[in-house]
């Protein structure tokens, strides 16, 4: 990894609150994150961990009952948390920072042609002629892998398959050559065989166009495939982050251990899979100590008393758990995820269950 890379966007201690009926819910509890130019950062977490909410602060797309109550998001010297109106966001949302959502149908207008939806974005942000915009749109469609794009330009979303629709959503998101692409579970609604194609497509386009990608997903398999760096989110906080190798092969937070250990890919037939009991914390209540403690079989007494700080594992790897405190007892990660690479290599090498040729 190149140490001198530029930070393109920098979130500092972001806190987001939602007003639900008469109560306040703290969805994001102080998250900081620097994204480096050109990298792919993946945020993993369960539903309700706040992974989507957090990235929505990058594009000002929080639901109307949500507010950023603390912190800043700096992008090109501008604090994005200070932007209010759509006019303030002009030139950033959809232009410099684009988002791809889980269900392509929610991002496409079902009664307008595919072509017109792409050209609209190009015209709006680049201010060029209709003919030129159309030319660019077809080019973009070809780039995302739509065969005979010119013919399919005037078709409607329902004439496209799910995978094709997601390709169009990607084309729209990239039409203005954004600097940051946020992919919010881009493949969850798609079939497994299509998922791999879309992931490859995003990666190829990233190489070609050089944007920075922020992935949001619950699927650790996808993370391993796409990411340079990973942040694990739980209860509205990032609890561990590092390079993808560090987080997969040397995880330090018990929640990361648990997530990895419970993957069915690692299960041995006839034996029990590891599982996490209980449910994520309710963010309506004030969380004391480590949010994961009540579900953590390795919890220390201190986890219920005091929120742990980030402990440094390496220059790039940090984890928010008291287990890394020098006073804490030594604890090895669970057996299932020890020598993870060797185990998986065996599975995917010749003779292994997931070997293909």
């Amino acid at each position: 990894m190149d140490e001198t890379r530029n930070v393109i966007i920098s979130a500092k201690d972001v806190e987001v609150k939602f007003r639900v009926r008469d109560k306040y819910l703290t969805a994001i509890r102080g998250v900081s994150l620097d994204l480096y130019e050109g990298e792919t950062f993946a945020i993993v977490g369960e539903s309700g961990s706040g992974k989507s909410v957090f990235t929505k602060t990058f594009t000002g797309m929080l639901e109307s009952n949500g507010t950023i109550s603390k912190g800043s998001v700096m992008f090109h010297g501008k604090d994005l948390t200070k932007l209010k109106t759509d006019k303030d966001w002009e030139g950033i949302r959809g232009a410099k920072i684009s988002t791809i959502f889980q269900d392509p149908m929610t991002s496409l207008n079902p009664i307008r042609t595919i072509g017109s939806q792409i050209t609209e974005v190009i015209e709006k942000h680049q201010g060029i002629s209709k003919a030129e915009a159309k030319k660019q749109a077809i080019e973009m469609m070809e780039r995302v892998g739509i065969a005979n794009a010119a013919d399919r330009f005037d078709e409607y979303p329902f004439q496209y398959s799910g995978g094709m629709r997601q390709r169009i959503v990607i084309a729209i998101a990239l039409a203005c050559h954004p600097e940051i692409l946020i992919c919010d579970e881009p493949t969850t609604a798609l079939d497994v065989t299509i998922q791999a194609q879309i992931i490859t497509l995003i990666r190829d386009l990233q190489k070609e166009l050089g944007f920075t990608t922020l992935y949001i997903t619950h699927d650790l398999g996808v993370v391993a495939n796409v990411a340079n760096r990973v942040g694990v989110m739980y209860g509205g906080q990032i609890i561990e982050y590092g390079t993808v190798e560090e987080v997969f092969f040397d995880p330090r937070h018990p929640y990361t251990w648990a997530l990895l250990s419970s993957l069915p890919q690692l299960g041995i037939k006839g034996e029990e899979l590891f599982y996490i009991t209980g449910t994520p914390p309710s963010l309506f209540n004030e969380i004391k100590g480590d949010a994961f403690a009540p579900r953590n079989e390795h919890a220390l007494k201190v986890d219920f008393v005091q929120e742990p700080p980030f402990f440094k594992v390496s220059d790039t790897h940090y984890a928010k758990t008291w287990l890394l405190d020098p006073r804490a007892p030594k604890l090895e990660k669970p057996e299932v995820i020890q020598d993870l690479h060797e185990k998986i290599k065996k599975m995917t090498d010749k003779g292994g269950a997931f070997h293909v040729e």
Binding site: D191, V192, E245, L340, M347, V356
Partner: protein
Amino acid sequence: MSNETAEREVILSVRHVSISFDTGHKKKFVAVKDANFDIYKGETFALVGESGSGKTTLGRAILRINPCSEGEIIFEGKRISGNISREEDRNVVRNIQMIFQDPAASLNERATIEYCVSEGLYNFHLYESEADRIAKVDKALQDVGLLPEHKSRYPHEFSGGQRQRVGIARAMIMNPKFIVADEPISALDVSIRAQVLNLMNKLKAEKNLTYLFIAHDLSVVRFIADRIAVIHLGEIVEIADSETLFQVPLHPYTISLLSSVPMPDPIVERTRKHIDYDPSKLDQSGAKRELREIRPGHFVFATDSEFEGYEEKLRSMEQEAK
């Protein structure tokens, strides 16, 4: 789970079943084409396919929700598809139960957990007294790791994983012999999927159950299934025992599915090939394709010429293994 095929008792047979739906136009939509397989007593048989493959349609045909347009389904030697007597229909309900994909959608939100779990008991009057019913409900809840105190609660008060376990308790209280589990974990959060899988395995062993486990990806199936059928666009393309299917997948669609299982290892993932399924590479001569047995218990959907190709591939793999 023994490997001696000859001795195994067939509990359910799907015999050349096709299922089609009226689309309102002249053309009928055929969701399942000529599905033909047996499920043995005590095994977990997985049906793996993507959306639109017909896997759910076929699963629901076993529960008599979807009618078969051709073929028949046999359960314990008796036909259960088509017109059967009311008594036989009740018998199917008692013995074949279902676990649904979405626990939020499949529980009655306006009923207490006690009612949800008791529903089957009420319908068949499977209790001697009120006290007996309560005791049975408590037992069923405890079997799935829930607490008797949950009886008076409503489904929306539970988490996704807990709700799915209520759904399992409701099916198990009937003491069924056969369970159709339609993607029971895909709507759940990753951290609780494992718990539901463990629970299903535990109950299967305790109650001597047979599962038809419907899934869309192979990673889960490898952990839970004894035998696997891969279904693509309504056609079963390959059936084999779990080990064989992962060791020597033959049909290109199976291989493509297998290659798209993401592995939680960045180093492996970076070099792992994804193989697209390209039907145009199959035999285009128009020859009839059918499910043929290439090795004992290993079936593949092929034309004559494709079958030869698979045979050759298999032989070379076997040679290499020696």
